[in-house]
Symmetry: C2
C-alpha cells in the first residue's frame, strides 16, 4: 500500500509485535486513532516497558512462537505489525517452545542468513498462519522520511557525489543480504555495515576518517527487494547526534522507506549540529540541490 492511505484492517484488534525504541507506542496511538483496539506483545529484553505498558500487553520471549500465536488468537488480532529493533538472537539462547521449534525448522536456513532473510521469513510464516502482516509505515505516514532536504543544511555537489557512491555500495551489499548502510568520505568508502549495526559502524567511520577533507556521509537504504513490512531503516535524533559526533557532515536515507522516530527532533538535531539530512528517492540523487 502507498504511504498516506489508511491501512485496510481485517479485524477489530491490531497486534503489535514490539522490539525496542519508541515506535511501538507510536503505532499503538495510530491504531487507536483509527478506532481499533491494540494488543502489544513485547519481546522480552527488547521492548521498553514505558513505551508499551500504557496499552494492553504481554511480554514474550522472541522464540516462544507458540505463545505468541496463541496470544494473538486469544486477543482476536488478525492484523499484525512488527516494529522496533531486536538484535539477532544468539541461537544457543533461543530456547524455542514446541511451536517455535516447528517454525524454526520451517524457516530453516533463513535463521542463519542476513537479518532481512530472517525477518522476511517471520513475515511469511505469520501470513501462512492466517495473519495479515502490515508495515509500520502504513500507520506512521507522518514519520516516513520524504524526498528532499530536511532542516537548514544543504548538501553540496561533493556530498551529493558521495551519496550516489554510497547508494551503489549499499545496493551491492544489500543484494548479498549483508547490511543497509555505509559511510563515504570524498569518494572513499570508510566503513561498510554488516552484523555490527549502524552505531558501531559510525564509531569506526569516525576513527578511519581522513583528515583535511570534508566529513563523510552516512547512507542508509533498503536492501534491493526487501519486504517493507520488516526492518525498515530507522533514524532518530540520537542517530543524527552520533553521526555529528564522529565528524560526519550528513545523512542520506531512502525516501518513503525510512522511519524517523521523531521527525522534529531529527531536524532540530541536524540544524544544531550542522548536519544535512536528505531523503533520496528511487529516481536517484540530483547533481545539485536547487
Amino acid at each position: 500500500m502507498d504511504v498516506g492511505d489508511v491501512p485496510r484492517l481485517a479485524g477489530d484488534c491490531v497486534g503489535i509485535l514490539a522490539g525496542g525504541g519508541p515506535l511501538p507506542g507510536q503505532v499503538a496511538r495510530a491504531v487507536e486513532a483509527l478506532g481499533r483496539q491494540v494488543f502489544i506483545i513485547g519481546f522480552q529484553d527488547f521492548a521498553e516497558p514505558r513505551v508499551i505498558e500504557p496499552w494492553p500487553h504481554r511480554y514474550v520471549r522472541l522464540a516462544a512462537a507458540g505463545e505468541i500465536l496463541s496470544c494473538l488468537r486469544a486477543e482476536g488480532c488478525r492484523d499484525i505489525v512488527l516494529i522496533g529493533p531486536v538484535r539477532r538472537p544468539s541461537f544457543s539462547d533461543l530456547r524455542p517452545d514446541a511451536t517455535g521449534a516447528r517454525i524454526m525448522a520451517r524457516i530453516g536456513r533463513a535463521l542463519f542468513s542476513g537479518d532481512d532473510g530472517l525477518l522476511a521469513a517471520i513475515v511469511r510464516v505469520l501470513a501462512e498462519e492466517g495473519f495479515v502482516v502490515h508495515g509500520a509505515h502504513e500507520f506512521l505516514s507522518g514519520s516516513v522520511g520524504r524526498s528532499g532536504v530536511l532542516g537548514r543544511i544543504q548538501p553540496d555537489a561533493g556530498a551529493l557525489a558521495d551519496i550516489r557512491h554510497g547508494q551503489d555500495v549499499v545496493e551491492a551489499i544489500g543484494r548479498l543480504d549483508i547490511g543497509q548502510g555505509c559511510v563515504v568520505q570524498d569518494g572513499l568508502v570508510l566503513a561498510v555495515e554488516a552484523v555490527e549495526g549502524t552505531d558501531r559502524m559510525l564509531l569506526r567511520a569516525g576513527e578511519c576518517r581522513q583528515p583535511g577533507r570534508p566529513g563523510g556521509v552516512l547512507v542508509k537504504m533498503l536492501k534491493p527487494g526487501q519486504d517493507r513490512r520488516a526492518d525498515l531503516p530507522t533514524i532518530g535524533p540520537d542517530t543524527v547526534r552520533r553521526a555529528a559526533g564522529v565528524g560526519l557532515r550528513g545523512i542520506a536515507f531512502q525516501a518513503g522507506a525510512t522511519l524517523l522516530t521523531d521527525p522534529g527532533g531529527c531536524i532540530a538535531a541536524a540544524d544544531e549540529t550542522g548536519l544535512f539530512l536528505i531523503g533520496v528517492g528511487a529516481a536517484g540523487v540530483p547533481a545539485t540541490i536547487a
Copy 2:
C-alpha cells in the same frame, strides 16, 4: 609474467620501495640471488630498520616523490618493486615536495579513492617516468600461496560454502574499490573490510560471532582487475594466530595472488591453532575437498 619465471630485468640495480613487514628484505635477497644489485628506499615511518638496513638504503617520506625519483635515477635503478604495507597517508600530513605536488596533481582523484586506485596510480606514474615496475610475486615465487589446502586441517562442506559466499562478497566490494576481505560464518556475513584493515575487521568479526555455530572463515581476494604489482593480499603467522584468537575456523586466500610472509610459519600456526588455510584458484571452490 607467470609465477615461477625469472623476472626480465632492464638494468643492473633493482630499486625496492619498501613499506612495513619482512617482505622487502625477502625481495632484496631474491634480487641478489639473481646476481643483481639492490637499492632500498624505505618509506619513513613504515619501513622497518632491521629489515632494510642490511642493504644499501635511504629513508624517504612517502610524499617526497622528487627525492624518490632522483634517488632511483642516481642509483641507476630502472627496475622497481613496491612491497610492504603503507597506511593510507593523511593528506594534511603529506607535505609533498615539488615533484610530489606535480605527481599528486597528475594522480588527481585516485588519491582520494580506494587504496587500490592510489597504488595503481603510483605504478602508472612510475612507468610514465620510464621505470619498469615489477610485482613482488615475480621475485618471491616460493612465497606465493598456491591452490589447495596447506597444513593438516581440511575445510568441511559448510566451510567451503562460506568460502564461496565470501568470494561473492569480496568480488562485489572489490568492484567498488572498498576492500579485499570479509568474514562469513555459516552463511552470515559477520564483517566486511573497508579502510580499517584486516586486523580490525577480525576483531569485530570475533565480537559479532554467532554462538552455537561453527566458526567463521576469513576470505581475502584481489579486487577484480587489480594490478598485481601493488598491494597483493599478504598473510603471515600473525594473521593466522589472530584469526584463531577471534574464533575463526579457517582462512581462504586467492591462489597465485597472495604473499605468505613465512609459509612454514603460517602452516605451523594453522596446525597448532586448528585452523584450515586454503588457496582458492580462479576456477572457484570445489563442493568438497577430495
